[in-house]
Amino acid sequence: MSSVETNGLTRRFGSFMAVDHLSFEVKEGEVFGLLGPNGAGKTTTVRMLACLISSSEGSASVGGYDIGRDSLKVRQIVGILTENPSLYERLTAYENMDFFAEAYGLSDVQEKRNRIRELLEFFELYERRNNKVATFSKGMKQKLAIARALVHQPPILFLDEPTAGLDPESSKVIRDLIERLSQREKHTILLCTHHLEDAEKLCNRVMIINRGKSVIVGSPDELRDKIAGQPVLQVILKNLNQKIIEAIKDVKQVKEVDVDNSASRLIITLDDVKSVTPEVVRSIVYAGGMVLSVNTLRPSLEEAYLKLVKEE
């Protein structure tokens, strides 16, 4: 069953196409990444799905509810971290949480208090609960905004750049939280980011968008394979000579050998890394090579991504 499904979802601002006929599906319990450069249309897409702005064309459903017809139901089951923290600066952290808890229907006083306390403690903000949000640092505001998005335990979460403004330690806390929410608590998460690291570590599937259009969809591994081609073999030797290079080239499946003499390193492009590697190593050894290390290299998702975005 899919939690989010869009069909030709489009948004124009005047004649400008901010989101251009996007169709995708996020399955229940999945972490789905929207990856793209600034202005790609990530925030606009999430805003349409959270019923914050209307779509110009196309349709979408969230948790089985149509975003046009059942917007109140959609808002009830969605927790959203907006691009701006969107917090009331004159109110304290607790007052902010309290307002949103009630707005999302947590009416039982004790339950509400426990939930807010639990979240504020998790994000290490409980000590500061009675301070006005205006006095908070950027990262603290970001954490409070994430806490707010979770207050009603929504089955579907939209997170627009959750690690923006966070230090490495806090980023890790958020990443671990996202992992836990999806794996243990089966939340469905739609994540906007231009952080490749986040996309790679967290997402089951990623859709790269650029100028409002979908460029490619797949798991991080699939994307790497599709965009940047097959992995290559890297061999480092103690001694490197022409005889060894010739011997490698004689192996049938080897397509190309890049030689880095200064480091005695070979980058070997071949058809099927897994099955051919033993044969390549054997040919090196027979030719008198002394192997220090052998490993497969994958182009990083970042290289793949940059290549793709530049091509567009």
């Binding site: 805003r47 914050l52 702005i53 209307s54 139901k73 009331y88 004159r90 007052e95 307002f99 009630e102």
Partner: protein, 274 residues
């Protein structure tokens, strides 16, 4: 429509406003100054009356045209008493319809436009609070404080006036009376609600607080002129006319509220943020 949710929006906004002295101070100070200043002005009238060349003859002619029930009340009063009586009980009445309009206009202009400017609107719009509840909540934030201010102003005005006029009217306390009760607790709220409804509608459509304020001032000017011109007449004609006016404004308020909710499109608010 869940009133509880509208009250939730009200409480949240009220908490914010309470901490904002830039808003609170003008709303409270100006009305209270007016309600102290007006009765004091009256004590200057006796000296005015004895100054030759002031257009008091016109004033007397006007008194001749007043309806009978007012004439009866004036019978047997000295010229000074008549003047103070007319000014305090009739001529100053319009100010107390204008106080709630002024007090509410700042908050109502800020309602949606201010949240847009401070970038807090997005999370609010994402909540499952319906359009009607949001709209009503934002109206209450302007309405309740402005009615509190109006009531306090009325209390101050009556007290100061009674203190000053106690001896002039030989120990009779003239305020409050039925006309003024109807004015403050019937007509003032219903007139205020109409203007608040329109201002909140504008605030949801424009880009920022300043724009909302400017448009609402332009819109308020004809209402103010009307109020100023007609309020004295209404109160002179007595409780039945005031009650009829209250009824009329209740209908206008309902119409404005329904149109406001209908025209309120939350999906448009973020589209026009730039």
């Amino acid at each position: 429509m869940r009133i509880k949710k509208a009250m939730l929006v009200f409480r949240k906004d009220w908490r914010e406003i309470k901490r904002n002295w830039q808003v609170i101070l003008p709303i409270i100070v100006v009305p209270i100054m007016i309600s102290v200043f007006l009765p004091i002005l009256l004590t200057a009238i006796p000296s005015l009356a004895t100054t030759p060349g002031t257009p008091l003859s016109g004033f007397e002619a006007m008194i001749q045209n007043l309806p009978n029930h007012v004439q009866e009340q004036l019978a047997g009063m000295t010229e000074q008493q008549v003047m103070i009586y007319i000014m305090a009980l009739y001529f100053f009445a319009p100010f107390f319809l204008i106080i709630p309009l002024m007090a509410s206009s700042v908050i109502a202009s800020d309602s949606f436009a201010g949240e847009k400017e401070r970038k807090t609107i997005e999370a609010l719009l994402a909540t499952p609070i319906s359009d009607g509840e949001l709209f009503l909540g934002k109206m209450l934030v302007s309405f309740i404080p402005s009615m509190i201010v109006t009531s306090i102003s009325f209390l101050v005005y009556s007290t100061v006036f009674d203190l000053l006029s106690f001896s002039i009217f030989n120990g009779t306390l003239l305020l409050p009376n039925l006309d003024w009760f109807l004015l403050i607790f019937g007509l003032a709220p219903t007139v205020a609600l109409a203007s608040i409804g329109l201002t909140v509608m504008i605030s949801a459509k424009v880009k920022g607080f300043k724009e909302a304020q400017q448009i609402s001032v332009i819109l308020l000017i004809p209402i103010l002129a009307l109020v100023f011109g007609q309020a004295t007449g209404a109160i002179i004609f007595g409780p039945i006319v005031i009650t009829a006016l209250i009824g009329l404004f209740v209908i206008i308020d309902l119409a404005i509220f329904r149109t406001g909710v209908k025209l309120f499109k939350r999906e448009e608010i973020l589209s026009k943020i730039a």
